[in-house]
Symmetry: C2
Subunit: 210 residues, 2 copies
């Protein structure tokens, strides 16, 4: 995973480097971000508080201010952290796939599993639309960029249709996000492998009769 945010402006508008330099510091930072995911996920941005985050993290209030200046700042870092956690969850699975279409199936399957274990991701990413639009947009743009890159590589190798590209990547991202909401978030009982298989077969072959 990339390091969490490196430098932000503080009140005096000079830039303060907040990247932790020790393993202990990195552990504290992760504890704060994991606690923030629970706090923002349960209470939403407006109700969430810095003191509740440090309480959940089991850290002193001072530790918070070592890494963040404000609730806005940890929220922004959290969106990036969740986006990176998701990438790190899905990418190795996709890289093991035998072919380009299986890669998208395994990617969706892995995403649905991630949603089941991190149900707060929808509320957090979606609230970013209102709290921090740039982070919201960046999350989707970087996610789609990874899909587009996979598709264009596979098209170049002749594994899939030669015109696969950006529009297809946005279509796949939208499919995945909606299937995650319906079958990962709302429906505990759904068989996520069967959902991924059905969606992948649509992606592979389209709607035409065989």
């Amino acid at each position: 995973m990339d390091q969490p945010p490196v430098a932000t402006e503080n009140a005096g508008s000079e830039v303060r480097d907040k990247t932790p330099r020790t393993e202990r510091g990195r552990r504290t930072l992760r504890k704060l971000l994991d606690a923030a995911a629970v706090e923002f996920g349960e209470r939403g941005f407006h109700e969430a508080s810095i003191s509740a985050i440090t309480r959940r993290a089991g850290t002193a209030l001072g530790s918070f201010y070592t890494y963040f200046d404000s609730k806005d700042e940890i929220f922004q870092a959290l969106v990036r952290y969740m986006s990176e956690q998701l990438r790190d969850h899905v990418t190795p699975v996709v890289q093991e796939a035998p072919d380009a279409i299986a890669a998208e199936r395994l990617g969706l399957q892995s995403y649905l599993g991630f949603v089941r274990e991190h149900k707060e991701i929808y509320r957090i990413i979606d609230e970013a639309e209102f709290v921090d639009y740039a982070s919201y947009r960046r999350h989707y743009e970087t996610t789609v960029e990874r899909i587009r890159h996979r598709l264009e590589g596979a098209a170049k190798r002749g594994d899939i249709r030669p015109d696969a590209g950006e529009v297809h990547a946005w279509a796949i991202a939208g499919m995945n996000v909606f299937l995650g909401m319906r079958y990962g978030l709302w429906d505990e009982a759904a068989d996520v492998d069967a959902v991924a298989q059905a969606a992948n077969d649509l992606l592979a072959n389209g709607l035409k009769r065989n």
Copy 2:
């Protein structure tokens, strides 16, 4: 379009029928909902105010309370109103389609056009996730239900693959919403017909090489 909300509970918990009985009343109600779309779309739920809605609508404050008891109540009615406007925009276009796959292309094309003209729809529907989750969920469930109904009818007639159903409908809804965000909302210059064509070709034929 369906009538806007018919009955809600007021403070005394008895139910008050607020359906307008005259053409003039229906016109006032629509003016309030159109003004609410602009107000909530520009300022968001928390900053929006009832007095600004009536000012934008050019109606007296009293008219508001003829139809709604609160800001929450007009927001809920607005989500439903936008959902129905979208349905009424897309449905006749889809019904004119020569076949099931063209129906999805025309549906997406018509949706992208609607987004261009009603950019506030994303902010309003998405804010419902935080302000009124039941309305948020109902919007997607009824939208997907229409797609599923189209697909299952076409499958029964033998026009498309026989297993087309719910998972495919959620996948298509997700595709459309994300393509609408990327090419309808964020990118004024995108050729929406070309986007709809590319996405529909994916939907028709999948990713496999021809």
